[in-house]
Amino acid sequence: MDFIYSIIPPSILCQIFVGLSRTVILFIVSSGMSLILGVLRIPNVFHGSLYMIGAFLAYTITTVCAGSPFGFWLALIISPLVVALIGLAIERGLFQYLYESEHLMLILFTFAFSLVLGDIVKFIWGADYKSVPVPLIFQGFVSLFGGLPFPVYNLFLLAVGPIVAFFLWFLVNKTKIGKIAKAAAVDREMVGAVGINVSWVFAIVFVIGCLLAGLGGALMAPTISVTLGMDHTIIIEAFLIVIIGGLGNMWGALLGALIFGLTQSLGILLWPQFGIIFPYLAVVVVLLIRPTGILKSTW
């Protein structure tokens, strides 16, 4: 280990791991968006609102089950499901009539939804800051890298990331619905012509995307103060990640999330005041070199 420390100081190593755990959240949220964008071709602005709702639901569930050790796990299961239900209702209710619209209209339409959902959240939970306690077994710090403290919860996040990535890979490449969705992303009319109900495939993909947004929100909740406006920041980040990764490419989303998360955490170390501009700079650099994203887009 001392050899590694002589190359990379422990403080930077620690910050890299913080960045990686941030990457996990960004990946979960932006992979959902990438899925929707790739298959349904909807630039979904209210994805961030769903993430916010996921976090607020996690707050409610952990408050209700304050004493029990299962509160957090319950939140991790229930809030994505509720968010997925909201997504299903929106898709079946309105979106399925708009697939042929222009991107500009779709962006404005989903933005309208983000306004509506944002105010619904304000109505239900109020405008105060909420905090979700870190579950008991993940409380505290471990000393990694030469004794620097590292939150246990972030280790948990680092474990969750690969699991979600594996499930998504399995879903897209190994299941029937994933294969149909991939085909529909390339040519939806042809898929319809061979007798598959494309509309429902789209609905399922949309719901899975929303589920991921809710999961991201619920996982993020213990590490931040849950508040209104968290949708506005995440949505821009998710959009940029999806763009630099290549529209609709899930591994692109992973790569984009890595770039974004690491530049964010290392940028803060490098220049605390302007740390937040580094990810945006990275995006600009990537897009200057590869205008349509790093990996191949499904479009």
Binding site: I107, F123, V283, V284, L287, P291
Partner: protein
């Protein structure tokens, strides 16, 4: 014959509109507390100019200008900082705003125009967010998240009425210039590019250069709107550069109707009036705004004005939104 009648009708409407707006600060105090309403009309003119400058590239140019707010905000910040910190005559600040916006627009345009459509828009959002982050974080220079308040405005235009007349004259001139540009050969080329970029390229139009010029012009007028906002409100804040504002301006364009010159102004007026009057009843204005937007997209995709235009001229071919 009918066309002549229509245009003369339009001119009469225009002249009545101008006279009404000119008389407003004189007549209004006879009836009510005028200060607030004069401020409101000034704000409508500012937002209308802002939205019209966006529509110049979005509706007429077909460029996905997703982050137009940056140019508005930077214009306002440039003017505010010049007025506050430089000690130069104030007209320098007023000119600096639009010029800085135009320069930023040139830089961002050069970078973004390598891409098109959605990618263009997203890269612009990224660059715009970069500018926003700098403004938001550079507390010692830009005032950080609080923004700057109490910007010194020259005596002549610092009162609400003075600010109103200044806003009115400047925005009227700008509207006129933009209108002329849309109907000039340049505007026709721009609309040609919107409708079919490849064909335009084929007949010898330099598409990228025209688009870049349009972006610079739009950025310049957004900067003018930003400066006018400083005059009207005496303050700037980083939210003026945030992407949600850019979305709101797009809503204004959509509400009034793109493809129609006064559409964005109408949309801005409706939006600000709604916000002001509904906002007094409820804190859930964003909810109502979202619902309005959805209704427009579903039922009036060519905007309020587009709807009336279609009603009045049923034989005309309706432009697809």
């Amino acid at each position: 014959m009918l066309k002549d009648l229509l245009t003369s009708k339009k001119i009469i409407l225009l002249i009545t509109g101008i006279i009404l707006l000119l008389l407003l600060p004189v007549v209004l105090p006879l009836f009510m507390q005028a200060r607030f309403y004069i401020y409101l009309v000034s704000l409508i003119l500012v937002s209308g100019l802002f939205a019209t400058s966006l529509n110049f590239v979005l509706g007429f140019g077909g460029i996905y200008q997703f982050h137009h707010g940056v140019f508005y905000g930077i214009g306002a910040y440039a003017a505010a900082l010049m007025l506050l910190k430089s000690g130069l005559p104030s007209w320098v600040g007023f000119i600096a705003g639009p010029v800085v916006s135009a320069i930023l627009s040139l830089i961002m345009g050069l970078i973004c125009l390598r891409l098109s459509k959605l990618y263009f828009g997203m890269l612009q959002v990224s660059l715009g967010s970069l500018v926003w982050a700098v403004v938001y974080r550079w507390r010692s220079f830009t005032g950080g998240e609080d923004g700057i308040h109490g910007i010194p405005i020259p005596e002549l235009i610092s009162s609400p009425t003075g600010a109103y007349y200044f806003t009115f004259i400047v925005s009227a001139v700008c509207f006129f210039i933009i209108y002329k540009m849309i109907n000039a050969p340049f505007g026709s080329v721009l609309q040609g590019i919107r409708d079919n970029a490849i064909r335009s390229e084929m007949i010898g139009v330099n598409v990228k250069r025209h688009q870049l010029a349009a972006l610079i012009i739009a950025g310049f007028f957004a900067g003018v709107a930003g400066v006018l906002f400083v005059v009207v409100d005496n303050s700037v804040f980083p939210d003026m550069l945030f992407w949600t504002l850019s979305m709101e301006v797009m809503i204004m364009c959509l509400l009034g109707g793109w493809h129609i010159f006064i559409g964005p102004l109408t949309g801005a007026a409706l939006m600000i009036l709604f916000r002001t009057f509904i906002g007094t009843f409820t804190i859930y204005w964003a909810f109502i705004q979202g619902i309005i937007l959805m209704i427009i997209i579903f039922f009036l995709p060519s905007g309020v004005l587009g709807y009336f235009e279609r009603k009045m001229k049923p034989t005309d071919k309706v432009l697809k939104a």
